[in-house]
């Protein structure tokens, strides 16, 4: 498997996402290791794919090779909301445009997967970008080097 990592940083709260893109253009949305959920020994209270009254990511039904019926996501589309044991709540975002193929239901049963294996079994969702956009969608994201540069600046600017 050839997969490249690209990083997406949302807001000031360091809600960092990591997008893994396969050479076949498919993207897997995961939490970057710097995401608050993975810090300070937090435990997960609940994961909710119901992002609004009318929309649950669990209702995403995809059929056929062309993935008809898939919910179409924009960069800012929420995928799920995660509530931690210390009552902090975080929204996980799509980060890229494309069709939502699946969300990870394993983490509903076993939330620890998200904490222990955020880059593999603890993934959040799989998104298929449009063929024409397959290269451009990750251009706005940060490479590993750029990401690390921002992270280190962050820790410098944070008060001790």
């Amino acid at each position: 498997c050839e997969e490249k990592e690209k990083y997406y940083m949302k807001g000031k709260l360091c809600e960092d996402h990591c997008i893994l893109q396969h050479s076949n253009r498919l993207c897997v949305v995961t939490l970057a290791e710097t995401h608050p959920i993975l810090q300070d020994g937090r435990a997960i209270k609940s994961i909710n794919y119901q992002i609004s009254n009318g929309c649950s990511r669990l209702n995403n039904k995809v059929s056929g090779k062309s993935k008809r019926g898939a919910q179409f996501l924009t960069d800012f589309a929420p995928l799920c909301r995660i509530m931690c044991s210390d009552d902090t709540e975080y929204t996980i975002y799509s980060c890229i445009r494309g069709r939502l193929l699946e969300v990870n239901e394993n983490i509903l049963e076993t939330p620890n997967l998200l904490l222990e294996k955020p880059s593999t079994e603890g993934y959040i969702a799989v998104i298929l970008p449009k063929f024409e956009e397959s290269k451009s969608i990750t251009e706005n994201l940060l490479t590993r080097e750029e990401f690390e540069a921002v992270v280190s600046k962050r820790s410098l600017s944070q008060p001790p």
């Binding site: 076949n24 090779k65 993935k67 699946e102 079994e121 993934y123 298929l128």
Partner: protein
């Protein structure tokens, strides 16, 4: 002596004066004696003219008595009497036909037939036979027999229909019926004339009605192509626009429309009899086609950087060569075929080897110029393939039937396969840690469509069974895993888990991250094609 009857006279007369050639007249008289068409045109014409000038009392037969008492040796094959003729005794044809016949004679000599557009006139004779044979010989095919296929412009049907209506009026007045289906087709008459001539030129190769080798003769007549167009307005549902920009006026569509259109409507839009054409048809290049030949065998793949089919993206080749090209090249050259379709009982990835007896495959060879190969010759072709590259190997190479192809696809869904994988473990292991795997039998997996193929396959969960496994310890982070599985099992995903989307998987079983470093196919358990002893 033409087998014509008194009732044919009005037909002959009407058609000759409408500008039809002698042979087309015979067709409308339902003459099925092949020799009648083979005789020289001017002879036939003369006989026809004599015939219509005969007075009634020269008649030999009573028209009600149909059965031919053939004294002529020229009568070879005669169709059984047609149901068409319902007869009344007729009055003799008046002598006004004499003048008409003379006029027709002059016209006939120089003009192109309004019905066959010249096809049964100067476009079927020894010259054409020579041309056909020259083309066939130049293309260097191996054949024992051939079949002539003829493609005629669709507008001939329209002209035929027009002439039929022309004659129908006349014929009905005399109380007769002429069924359109009893009229001899232009195609048939053409073949009756040409088959013998071609056989003669080929010094004995039989021109038959069914043969693996087809020689196609095509005629076009651009000037009259628009003859069909009015049908599209009258019967639009017969003419569906095609995806390829080919003409929508196919023969089939035109025939269908002619069956539907009323006589009245037809006559509103098309002259009856049809107008005289300005020139003859144009013969197109003669096309030779040999029926496909099917080759089967089993292949081994020893290379970890060889795709099964050519790997081309945006016109650029990404990887050199492919299994199918390496196998096909010597076969294409031996059979002198134009192209091929390759298929196999399943496929392996670029980086996977195929060992053991190999994987069954079959190839359709398109338009082979040579099709007969002895067992020894097939062995030689196999040797050539095997010598050409060390990346692949072929065995059991043989010619099979088209039906045999389905045997091969059976294997893809139903039969079991065996593999060996080189596994890496993140945690340190010892032999005791992995030996329990030897005892696992019939493990059912739920495999979601692997991410690596999800872009081109539907999202689904497959249940697949791993029948048995065995392990061979290598070192603290490596071991060989042998597996015997149901067809369609994704081995790589069973080993690394595919983000947890294949369950159970080896990571879960061993409680450590694992990855697959190498994979080999050990056997594809399909017992086809039949093995050929070395």
């Amino acid at each position: 002596m033409l087998p014509l009857k008194e009732k044919d006279k009005p037909i002959v007369q009407k058609l000759l004066s409408a500008g039809c050639c002698a042979r087309c007249v015979l067709r409308f008289c339902c003459v099925s004696v092949q020799a009648a068409y083979r005789q020289a045109q001017h002879e036939t014409l003369k006989e026809l003219q004599t015939f219509i000038m005969e007075k009634e009392n020269n008649k030999v037969q009573d028209s009600a008595d149909i059965k031919p008492h053939d004294t002529e040796s020229s009568q070879t094959v005669e169709d059984p009497p047609c149901k068409r003729a319902k007869l009344d005794p007729t009055e003799a044809v008046q002598s006004e036909t004499d003048d008409a016949a003379m006029v027709t004679l002059k016209k006939e000599e120089s003009s192109v037939c309004a019905l066959c557009l010249g096809i049964l006139q100067d476009l079927c004779g020894p010259d054409q036979a020579i041309k056909i044979v020259e083309t066939v010989k130049s293309q260097n095919y191996e054949f024992d027999t051939l079949v002539l296929s003829v493609s005629l412009p669709a507008q001939l049907c329209v002209r035929e229909h027009s002439c039929w209506l022309h004659v129908k009026k006349e014929v009905r007045q005399k109380g007769l019926v002429l069924d359109k289906d009893d009229v001899i087709q232009v195609k048939e008459a053409f073949k009756w004339i040409m088959q013998g001539l071609v056989t003669k030129q080929l010094e004995g190769v039989a021109v038959v009605s069914k043969s693996p080798f087809e020689v196609g003769v095509e005629f076009t007549h651009p000037d009259t192509e628009s003859d069909c167009h009015f049908l599209a307005k009258c019967c639009p549902d017969c003419f569906k626009p095609t995806k390829n920009k080919q003409s929508v006026f196919t023969r089939m569509a035109v025939v269908k429309a002619l069956e539907k259109i009323s006589d009245v409507k037809f006559l509103e839009h098309y002259p009856c009899p049809p107008s005289e054409p300005s020139g003859s048809c144009t013969p197109q290049d003669i096309q030779c086609l040999h029926v496909s030949v099917f080759i089967a065998g089993r292949y081994n793949k020893f290379c970890r950087s060889l795709p099964q089919t050519p790997w081309v993206i945006d016109g650029e080749r990404r990887m050199e060569s492919s299994v199918e090209e390496l196998i096909a090249a010597p076969i294409l050259s031996a059979f002198r075929a134009d192209g091929f379709n390759f298929s196999s009982s399943g496929r392996e990835d670029v980086d996977v080897r195929t060992l053991g007896n190999g994987r069954p495959f079959a190839m359709e060879l398109l338009n082979p110029h040579r099709s007969r190969f002895s067992k020894v010759e097939m062995k030689q072709v196999q040797e050539t393939i095997n010598k050409s590259s060390d990346k692949i190997r072929v065995r059991d190479l043989q010619i099979v039937t088209r039906e045999a192809m389905s045997r091969m696809k059976e294997g893809e869904e139903e039969k079991t396969k065996s593999y060996t994988a080189l596994v890496w473990t993140q945690k340190s292991i010892e032999n005791e840690d992995i030996s329990f795997i030897n005892d696992i039998k019939d493990l059912t997996l739920d495999q979601k469509t692997p991410l690596r193929v999800l872009h081109r396959r539907a999202l689904a969960i497959r249940q697949r069974v791993i029948h048995s496994m065995n392990v061979r310890f290598v070192d603290s982070h490596h071991f060989y895993l042998g597996l015997k599985t149901q067809a369609g099992t994704y081995i790589k995903e069973f080993v690394h888990g595919d983000f947890g989307r294949t369950k159970p998987n080896l990571c879960l079983l061993l409680k450590t991250d694992t990855d697959i470093l190498e994979l080999d196919v050990e056997s594809v358990d399909v017992d086809w094609p039949p093995p050929i002893p070395e």
